[in-house]
Symmetry: C2
Subunit: 134 residues, 2 copies
DNA sequence: TCTTATATGAGAATAATTCTCCTTTAAGAC
DNA sequence: GTCTTAAAGGAGAATTATTCTCATATAAGA
């Protein structure tokens, strides 16, 4: 599905800003920050307001078109990666790797199907793996 | 090990502020924010500076006496829970539940012992489970 | 008790994010 | 195509968590 239709599919108004922001996230890769997105977009839309970018990002997150990636820095990053995946991170590095592993997903799903958590209904889960790139 | 000895054990100077902060994190539970910690401590040490609290928290995190818990809000929370655990979270709620499951830990460890990730050496991992408390 | 490296206090500075308010525009109705 | 209107965007001020600066105080070992 192309970017325009992703927005339409969620019942969102299609605006040039929304298209540009969603495209930027996908294009930039490695979980860009709001600032990364803003400077990327300003090449094409020099007048876009930072407030607009933050507002659009919130809309996209609310509609599950992008995921907000939290980091141990006081800065948010955004993930346009729609396939189910986990995150690899190394302390001191800003790189956040994506890790796709269907076998792992299935194993965890089977595990939680068998073992219910008392007082909690699981919707989804992400494994945050810390270590070292080499 | 008591709080004083946790500091000594890491080769850190023992100061009243460090003791109070570490105690506050353990005492407050549910992953307090820096602000929670500050207002708790001010009851006993009204003159503690916010900068001191942030600096001490950074020292404690660096020495693995507490963990920094990242959230999708732009605010850091701190975890004095030393036992190995995972996190339960519900969108829209500020509660972060701790989830201890040795069986899960062992299953994941066994899995990653068998299945190496190319270009990445795993140190540790935390499962972030989203869902609904009920 | 003395010395010194380190920690703290106070408050200014910074930086990511949010808010306000006015203008513009997308999208459906006609 | 034009009109209408609710929703979106622009500009920049405001907010707020966190960091920084630097002078003072103190923990810990000699």
């Amino acid at each position: 599905m192309d970017i325009r239709n992703k927005l339409i599919d969620k019942g969102l108004k299609v605006t040039p800003q929304r298209m540009a922001i969603l495209e930027a996230i996908i294009e930039l890769g490695n979980h860009p920050t709001a600032e990364n997105i803003i400077s990327y977009i300003k090449k094409e839309y020099p007048n876009i307001a930072t407030g607009t970018v933050y507002k659009v990002l919130a809309v996209l997150v609310d509609n599950n078109l992008v995921r907000k990636v939290v980091t141990d820095k006081d800065i948010s990053r955004y993930d346009g990666f729609t396939e189910r995946h986990h995150h690899l991170h190394s302390p001191g590095s800003d790189v956040i790797g994506d890790y796709i592993d269907k076998e792992l997903d299935e194993m965890l799903e089977a595990y939680f199907k068998k073992k219910k958590l008392p007082g909690f209904k699981i919707d989804n889960f992400t494994l945050h793996i810390n270590g070292r790139f080499n």
